[in-house]
Symmetry: D2
Subunit: 312 residues, 4 copies
């Protein structure tokens, strides 16, 4: 049985229901999806400044929308990430004026002068990204952006939200299962923004950006435990909050993880609140996007058997 | 010459370019536009709880989109607000679970229980809103929501941004001129959410909501001085910042007002920064929407003649 | 009867109970208090750069602590501000690297380069501050800093809090009465930081700073209606919130004003919440200090007679 | 040679220079310091509600101040943490009205009702904390609070800052070395608030609180690389930012870690900014204190040999 391969001729720059689906998948099907990099592959050398070779807001192109057969509002999309393979031997990063978490930016404007624009091209070889001859960091690929269409909005692919989007959470990686609320018929599934590696917060706003081939299995579950993206890694369960300020992202992530612990695992509110206080972990995906994303998490070893079975 | 009257049969729930225009206006034309209230006129008594009579996110309906002849991306829409007349003799407000600036909310979730839902119907008589037999506040009408379509996004009518939207700035009132960047052909102009009165911050999230007939003159200017909404009242010029956290809304508002003072009024950066530090005023429109809005302002009496004339 | 005059030989740089009182006042007594400017009067020309002539954190000197006879923890200090007179004919402002609300700062550090340091000396003549030959703004003096000692902390005079401190609220002006919680025996009252004028937010961090003679009457009331500073102007009552982020300052201000409306004026919680939503105003004192300050306010004309009489 | 043991008769509730030192240590000396728990050991059963058995703000008692011989302003205190041993066989946690990161609180007040107060007593046995018969989490002890005296302030032991204080960073653990700026003669060193375990963010505001005996070696270095606490664990170097909003804590942490990478390890600004963007990690200590704390970190394996040697 050959897998379906999705190679779009056009890319989407919003998460929304207004564009024509580029493909259709059935629940249970494994597909191989090709994704562009955040700069539309137009940054190939240090001379290709992002502000010259791209026009805002046409950044971070997504492969999609993909129509999921049988997906109805109120369902949950279940994405098992199987592999993320690079389709070239280098990654790109850049300092871009007005972008970043520890510089004056479009979202946090200041009177200070911006830092100069600068491009970084790093070889991707032997399972590592070569920041320099002496500094190599492991290839730990994940999808910066994954999501479905909101009910009425069309949201820039630079922005995350309850529908997923540009969360930049490194746990959206091979071996993890991601659950995302479905708000429209067909779900309108999108992915993009593969990263070969990224630090917490994605500080300068541009990770190790790459083009990729992503293999995943798509599924559906009836109902939604919570209204935000959930990640199940081999070791942990997580809920993702996307908001500004960062403390609201933190609150959304934890309040939803508590809801999962109570509804799905049968803990009392007090048990759940104590458990996350004493043993929870959180990871900051990004502090650079129009909304920040945080993944609240708890090890599965600390949880009882689920009492609620969502039905696939 | 009779004015055009716009009474939509359908309403818009997003600011975006994806819906069919409901009318067309020419620059210089005066139009009378009818607007719904934030609850689709379904809250008529204290028994009509908003969460029962409305389905989220179908709130705050807008009249539009209105096609503006000759409007091109890069232009500025100029709206002279002439009058806002109520079309009924009462206004409504409500406490809604998960809504408000000083309660746990959807945007700032907490483990605390929500306050009970409650509706308030206030008579609108003799130029005042009757909060009670003894407490009357002046009728000071304005448009809570006004804007154009963003370039690629479709943004919920509950949210403000550089395109305008749900700013809840009381200076968007008769006698003021509002300038809004145009990002798409035809502009896609929307208005709605008329308020008979509102306190700073719109704390519980629901002002004195009314249905209205709004008379205004639409114009166009070439170019954009800044990329955010500007308001010129009889006394002040203002720039509006919409963002979270609130300090980023403050920063966007002031950095853009400085830009106006420098580019349009010829002040040096240091003169402008000193002038706003010593004599600027700011008004907080709302602290309840998905983004907060702040209007930074300076009295026109403190300004020289403009050096830059935008061309109408 | 001659008034007591307080001319300190030493100044305080913290609000706290650890320093020796420089004077004692009795409730009901009118005193004339001399205050230094924020730069210890060491900035007298544009060549006197603040970072050269002052050593951090020895800024914003306060006159005090002043021992208030009979002041006990749990009481309220009542300060009637009678007049603020300048004691020289100029004011100073400055751009200081790392200071300001719309620049990278010590509190919000960024990788961007700071703006150059620059001093501004403005004549204070004929009831106005002369920003330039053509731009004059009215002399509207107030105390940027006023407060008592916290129970156990000693807080930099640059920082505001529930004890008052560096709030930069322009309503702390002649004609207003300020109420501040007392936390230690004797109260330990401090004032300083007189401003000849200031815009909302005090954007660059330095208002029209002046030396002054301040006349005021000190009183005491049993008990505390709320635990934050309250201001009663000729027209309004206000509660001040000081915090970061700015939305928390907003929340503290409004939640305390509601408490005043309920406890002191007999409104129900719903009446109070509706009243401030529809008719409240707020003023942002500063967005530059280690905590920001906001005054939430409501006109006295909209209030019934108080039901709670605090006892003087 | 017998080690010095410090068992205070009085405890400190502020970080400041206003109290008498309880002991003196010499650089190079190993000391055993006993610490109280955050509730002054008054919570021993689930009936001992914190708001009944403690009086605010007398919480989180610190052992100190400890005079460090030869410590001068401008030096760095170097603390090698050797061991943290519990001195009883249980830990305590609690839900306290007005405390916590995902509830309405004193710092983020809301109109919602607080959650009920509740105490949790957990056995500490066989290297784990027994949250219940079935849920055990590993004993991973650390000091929630450690610091020196600020130059002029006395800061509540509930609050963190550049002087250290109540950071709640789990890496302040045996095997780590903590560097803290010294601002006053003698340093005035304090520790307390030992935790047997804690989740990221310390969500309900109370970790697994215990009394402890802490062994550590105190040292001094000339000069300060940066003005915030630094942690060196067996694997990582870290800089700690403490501030609100949380994004400012993030900014302080990263800007200071970049400064360390540039000054101490000889990286260029661009190299350092890229390295942390692609490979940095961050840990959120708490989102409940008057300021939040974040530790920005980078693995030592990715760093070259230091070029700057601070002198011990």
């Amino acid at each position: 049985v050959s897998e379906q391969t999705i190679r779009p001729t056009t890319y989407a720059y919003t998460f929304g229901r207004y564009e024509e689906p580029v493909a259709t998948v059935r629940p249970g099907e494994i597909v191989a999806i090709y994704t562009e990099d955040a700069f539309n592959s137009r940054v190939k050398s240090t001379a290709d400044l992002p502000t010259k070779v791209n026009r805002w807001p046409y950044l971070n192109p997504q492969t999609g929308p993909i129509w999921v057969e049988g997906a109805h509002p109120g369902d949950t999309l279940v994405v098992e990430l199987l592999s993320i393979e690079p389709t070239r031997d280098f990654v790109v990063s850049a300092f871009i004026p007005g972008v970043g978490g520890i510089v004056a930016s479009e979202n946090t404007p200041m009177l200070n002068e911006p830092l100069p624009e600068q491009v970084f091209i790093y070889p991707l070889q032997n399972g590592s990204v070569h920041l320099s001859d002496s500094v190599r960091i492991p290839y730990e690929p994940f999808l910066g952006t994954i999501g479905t269409a909101p009910e009425i909005e069309a949201v820039s692919s630079l922005t995350p939200g309850p529908f997923g989007g540009n969360m930049d959470i490194p746990d959206v990686a091979p071996g993890s299962t991601i659950r995302i609320p479905i708000s429209v018929e067909g779900g309108f599934f999108f992915i993009g923004d593969a990263h070969a590696a990224q630090g917490d917060g994605e500080l300068c706003g541009v990770a190790c950006e790459m083009t990729a081939c992503v293999r995943l299995r798509v599924g559906l579950e009836d109902g939604q435990v919570v209204g935000v993206p959930q990640i199940e890694s081999p070791t942990d369960i997580m809920a993702v909050g996307s908001a500004k300020p960062l403390e609201d992202a933190v609150r959304i992530a934890w309040v939803n993880l508590l809801e999962i612990l109570c509804r799905q695992y049968g803990l009392s509110r007090a048990e759940a609140y104590q458990l996350v206080t004493q043993a929870g972990r959180m990871r900051v995906g990004n502090v650079v996007n129009p909304k920040y994303s945080v993944a609240a998490r708890i090890p599965k070893t600390l949880l009882p058997e689920p009492v609620l079975r969502v039905r696939g």
